[in-house]
């Protein structure tokens, strides 16, 4: 057994663990955070995806000890403390991007990681960015829409902050509209490129 210390969903933790314990099993069994799921044995499906120091990782392919000293965020830690859904979670619901829900926590965390790297992806970039997260229910159609919608919402929120600082709320709505038009155009571009 060995001791590891790190942060999980903002909480400082210190646990004695077996060196071979996978991060996903630590999160599920030791922390009781069971949103991340195990869907394969080969790092193929991404159902276990969490954020480690802000980047998405597959927690089935990381030893818990490797996370020592870092910050882990799971789907349970994504919504605001008052329960308000994260924009990505909201977009997944709005666009019906989940059915059975098994891939969902991993898919959501992968999306958060993807948008952190590329805030305004095209449809093709979304598809490539989520290639390592498998879903059997949705055919990916609505997941892609949700990711684009979340990106658009984040962009318009950012634009909105800037605009409202400069010119009040009217500009904000216009910027929001522009952002969603741009997003729709890039989505169409992605399709045509196939």
């Amino acid at each position: 057994m060995m001791r590891v210390e790190f942060t999980v969903n903002g909480q400082q933790r210190s646990d004695d663990i077996e060196p071979r314990l996978l991060l996903v099993h630590y999160l599920r069994e030791t922390c009781g955070l069971r949103a991340a799921n195990v869907g394969c044995d080969t790092t193929s499906c991404g159902a276990c995806t969490v954020l480690f120091n802000g980047s998405s990782v597959k927690s089935c392919t990381m030893l818990t000890v490797q996370a020592a000293g870092g910050e882990v965020t799971t789907a349970e830690g994504l919504a605001a403390p008052d329960g308000e859904l994260h924009p990505v979670q909201r977009a997944f619901r709005q666009e019906h991007a989940l059915q059975c829900g098994f891939c969902t926590p991993g898919m959501v965390m992968a999306t958060v990681g993807l948008l952190a790297e590329n805030p305004e992806p095209t449809e093709q970039q979304v598809r490539e960015g989520l290639e390592g997260n498998l879903c059997r229910c949705t055919g990916y159609h609505n997941i892609v829409r949700a990711v684009l919608a979340a990106a658009s919402e984040q962009a318009s929120a950012a634009a909105g902050e800037q605009a409202s600082a400069a010119a009040g709320e009217q500009a904000s709505a216009a910027a929001g509209e522009q952002a969603s038009v741009a997003s729709a155009a890039s989505a169409a571009g992605g399709r045509a490129g196939r």
Binding site: L98, T104, C137, V144
Partner: protein, 803 residues
Amino acid sequence: MSILGTRVLRIEDPRFLTSGGVYTEDIVDDRLLGACHVFFVRSPIAHARIGGIDPSQAAAAPGVLAVFTAADLADLPDIGPMMPGLLNERMRRHLLAPDVVRHVGDPVAVVVTEEPYQGEDAVELVDVDYQPLPAVVDLAAAASDEVVLFEAAGTNVAASFGDPATLDEHLFDGCDAVVRHTIMNQRVAPAPMETRAGAAAWGHDGRLTAWIPNQGAQGTRASLASMLGLAPEQVRVITPDVGGAFGAKFGADPEHAVVAWVARQLGRPARWTETRYENLIAMTHGRAQQQTVTIGGSRDGTVQAYRLEILQDAGAYPRIGAILPFLTILMTPGPYALGKAEAIARTVVTTTTPLGAYRGAGRPEATAAVERAMDLFAAEIGMDPADVRRRNLLPPFTEPHRTAFGALYDSGDYAAALDKALAAADYAGLRKEQAGRRERGDAVQLGIGLSCYVEITGMGDGEESPPEENATVEVHPDGSATILTGTSPHGQGHATAWAMLASDRLGIPVDRITLSWGDTDLVPEGGGTGGSRSLQQGGMAVQQAADELIELARLRAAAALEASAADLVFDTGRSAFAVAGDPAAFVPLAQLAEAERLLVRTVFSAPGATFPFGTHVAVVEVDTETGKVTLRQMVTVDDAGFVLNPLLAEGQRHGGIAQGAAQALLEEFVYDAEGNPLTASLADYPFLSSTEVPSFSLVDMATPTSYNPMGVKGIGEAGTIGATPAVQNAVVDAVAHLGVRHIDMPASPQRVWRALQAAAGSGRSTPQASTAAGSGRSTSQASTAAGSGGSTPQASAARSEGA
């Protein structure tokens, strides 16, 4: 405005998005405290006699509580095939193989440990002496009975549907052109994201509680009880959230019974979650049907005769997959008036993973066969595939139409679906683009594939065993409502859909309506979710229960308001009864539940199955230098009658289309000649990913059925039924001008490239005078075909004979 038909967001989503679903492995329950963990020792050899099992090393490993083999389970009954009348009853199995293993993955022992990691270590230590027997993988080899899997049966034939001797040898007499081809509808893995799992605890009363991800708790309880030799009342099945099923989680599997047996034997609760490797070799597979189609007709495009001969792979033990040819045969003619048609099937066992249901279950196979045949025929006579289809589709009908195969199609307008799909895809424009690429000799060619389908949903015979489902609706004094259903959601969104149905009638907001299912103590009866039956039977039961509840409440309201029941109107806006003409005199529904429970249980019974239909258009690009196929566009018309919630219905279509396209382009579960699985991980099995499909274009069409008050049919399986042949046809179409007539699925780059090489090698530029080769029945005139648009559709008549 009614909530019905609107895009209500799912009420189940916030939980899935934040804390995640509670799947079987996630269950935290007092009854499972101190549970031990069960691990299966599975055969690594396809076919072998078990010389002996030495568990001593495993038994001594850290944390191991026990190792059990078939000898320990001798008190349990052996298992015969379901539907004994249809399947060979001498093909029996045990929960753990006692003497012979018949596929890689066949369980021979279990190791039970304190902690999961200990079990993963200890299964490796069980020493099994396997004495290899010859594997039987090839279907023809299985049918030859040279090596027989079940000595007691004396044959590998598990079932026969129709007698080959009764086939009409003159079926194709008088046809101008006849094409015959053998097509493999390949084996695929359902691979739901959640693998199989189970948990079991025995109460002091000797009753078993089992948590199992399933598609219908009641059927699961029946099969679990039967495997354990118990009466159903002694078993309670609880259904946690289910991470996808696709037909493969109907009923209980032998592993679930073993887990329950272990829990009883050790006197403590037991849990099991399989690995993905186990899932891919031991959960039932789908499809695996070899089809020989023969199609003949006149040069004007009229199909005069069609024959479908099926050889179905059952895998090692006959399960549901063994009888699915029955459904394929039922749907043989699809949406067409085919003149004369006949179909027969035989099911054989092989030393491979058993076959079960997979999204569509028998119907995608029927559609694939007839749609491939339509294209083969179109190519043979040099006619546009859309024109050939239009010429042979049944005319629109509103009164039920009985086919020669006994199916009673309830309502349909197949040509309208075809026309809508062609218009939405700009079929003429696509053909123009294709012609341009062909003319230029582009390396990347365009293919357009069609599939017209009709399928059967909500199965059941109207007269003998009408399809039915129960529901209970209760309104509570706090104004909320609960629904119990015999259906069993696993991603479809029943909680939202059923709440919409009740809300529409009761005037209670959807987020105050809670749905329960899947606990056999709570809902002892029910048919579960499968065969796209939920809405048309389970949903209709909810609506009927809500209607009946209103009538029950009306009587109470009359007493409360001292008015005649006939003078009361139910105001959904207030969820209250009011006296007509005196809106101030009213009583809320909730108040009527105060003195006495306000609850109705009802059973909805349908006159029969319904038959959704549609047309899919697939557009692919094929790189003729590498054989790589890119799916560019999917346009689908899927008519399932009235749509309760477009958001949910579209989700079902998307998922099905993707799975259908996956079978056409990527997925195949492969064995080598010794029966070793070559695709037993998600690194090897080409599970569809987000980069391999485009976004889909869905076209609306709604032809109601008269079989239920809302006019709804099933939508869950339309995607896999329509998309697979459309995509496959598109791939062939892309290279048809180069002399290719058929490419088996999945259309991998290798297969496409080989087909191109074979076509080039056979001299495509000189149309051969086709004699419809081996069928020897008719002569199709090369000159006619060669004249049609400069292509050479006659080039491969010889190859079309079972290449």
